[in-house]
Symmetry: C4
Subunit: 220 residues, 4 copies
């Protein structure tokens, strides 16, 4: 969009891969709710009968909320890394496209877990899907750390270390889910609720992405 960073000859801008990413996550996060199949062809005489029926869909609702949060976390992880990106090169584009390929599979994996909640295999597949996404975020971060010409100057070693530490959660939680799933597939999925934890921990990333906070006067 910005004429300067887009076409001043310093390399391709990042806005279009961001737009594609935002679009794909928007569609995938919205399609998740389509997996909750409401009782269409049934006719309920009383509200109580309908509530009983909806209650049976409880597992689907929980899976929807979990997968929405999971996709939101990965979108956020992508967002935080791209905050430091200035220009995009070919390897970065390909890592992103692989990331999107696997993100789009999440509604499918969710569907499988929602419909076959008593089996362990869907939980393993779900964990594998997320671990692959985490790996790609890790590869992207490595590429960015090694390519200063692509990034903003405030992507310091400290910021890279912090972003790397954040990815640990994206690896530990799926592994914990797999471990718990040997006990109970359902509880294995509930482990993903842990991903919400960082929302309530004041993160150092806010400090890292913000060098100064005058902010009171308009951009010059």
């Amino acid at each position: 969009m910005n004429g300067k960073s887009e076409s001043d000859g310093r390399g391709m801008g990042k806005n279009r891969i961001e737009a594609l990413t935002d679009g794909i996550f928007a569609v995938a996060m919205t399609l998740l709710v389509l997996d909750i199949k409401p009782p269409v062809h049934l006719r309920f005489e009383t509200s109580e009968a309908l509530i009983d029926h909806l209650w049976m869909l409880e597992h689907s609702f929980v899976m929807y909320a979990i997968s929405f949060v999971v996709l939101a976390m990965f979108w956020l992880g992508h967002h935080l890394q791209f905050h430091f990106v200035r220009h995009v090169d070919r390897p970065l584009l390909w890592v992103n496209l692989a990331f999107l390929l696997l993100a789009v599979v999440v509604p499918f994996s969710t569907n499988l877990v929602g419909d076959h909640g008593h089996l362990q295999f869907p939980v393993l597949l779900y964990a594998a899907n997320l671990l692959a996404l985490s790996l790609l975020l890790f590869l992207q971060l490595r590429h960015l750390a090694a390519s200063p010409h692509l990034t903003a100057p405030h992507l310091t070693r400290e910021a890279v270390t912090h972003l790397q530490r954040q990815l640990i959660l994206f690896v530990v939680v799926p592994l914990a889910s797999v471990a718990v799933s040997f006990h109970s597939p359902r509880w294995g999925m509930y482990v993903y609720a842990l991903l919400v934890v960082p929302a309530f921990v004041p993160g150092r990333i806010d400090r890292l992405t913000r060098v100064e906070t005058s902010g009171g006067e308009p951009d010059p």
Copy 2:
């Protein structure tokens, strides 16, 4: 997009959470119409027979239009608040993600009301869905009012008060719908048509978002 506000080290820009929001609302608002199931497998000999059949879908059409307007109103409420946002911090991102989680559920709630229009429970669920969205917009406004480093300087106390007053409608209308639904679930839904009222009332918000209106010369 704007190189300056995005990566000058003053914190994360707002454009990507806006893009995700716009994308999710765009998909959700378009999916609403998928809930109107046209008569696919039937073959009608005359236009009259088809019109009769479509007439039976009248309730679905009305629900589509109402939910479209409802989502548009919440999108607008989000838009007005984000007009004043300059930078995004972690709590703001999480409030937004929760807002989106619940916005995506609206097509599901609408579907339930459309298919079971004679029961009261779907109307209550619909109202609960919207009240939760209103609560999140309120929390976001409180956070913005308390975080001057995130907002533009023209988010004055007056503007906050006005935005807060606007949210009252988002709370009163669902509550009125619940009250009416005890009488008739169907009329309970029609109450939401009241949300269109502000469209025809000259709002002070236009004045608040516009400090000066020279506008005649190009941006410097």
Copy 3:
């Protein structure tokens, strides 16, 4: 996106309503193709049998292409008008939301025509849908012409006249379709192919949106 035009206090920017519009048109234009139901549960022994079956879907393919072009034309009409918009006020937002409400109905109308191509009523409904869209574009143009503080200075009287003249096609073609549909519903739909004509007529609009064409040096 642009920090300046968005939050310098001159009114709300246009980028978010543009983003919502682009998103909704993107989804609606993609959903059109979902209405072509490929032969899923059938198993064909030879390619010829499959071709025969696909040939029966010919009407659906033609309707898809026509509705895609129709939506593209309305998107383009919106695009051309918004080219001149600088800031957005409340009436403009509401006209846009009504425009989007009706644009989302186009896949439904298309589906109806595709499935009941032998009846006249779907063709009339389709024409009514498009005429309502044209009316809203016309209202928007009137509002813009009367609100110089919302528009760029190069929205001259000449440009308004030209944009208005363009809308004539959006009214004449649906009316012609209705007239022809009394003879044959199917030919009534084929009339919409006329909308492609302006693609091959060198438009004065290119000259109007372009004041100077140095373009050789980078933006200052």
Copy 4:
């Protein structure tokens, strides 16, 4: 978005056609995964039974991945060309709309190949779909090369030649797929995996889109 390039009277900006393109590709790439029909109504007693069933969907998974990569490649091809675009005129808009019309058909073509993998005709249709997309990218490049007032100054003859050479792959691979499909429709589809090759070849395009790489200081 950028007030300058959008409404300074030098012609229409490119950002909205980019937004529509990104949106449509995002939806199309996400809808691909909907074509993989998970076993919904079946209940599996063991994970092994589910794995056996999923294994039968292997062809659908491969088709999903291939079509995702194919669409990503065309999006990338469009992205690379638009990197050099400054302003948009009417022929450019129409080439883009035709490009989008055919891109949206790719999920349909994919579906056909996925469901009828033993027949040759779907493979031919798929190749025809992609060849038409390649042709439009070629026409767009020709138009850009002949319209210096629409492009950035660093779209040199060298860059045009390079972009043209890239399109060769987009023509050769579908033709190779057709040739192989006479032997085996399934292997004909696997030929598309060759499209991933350029990901691992260091491209000169990175050098062409990047004139200088100081990048160390913030945009002025």
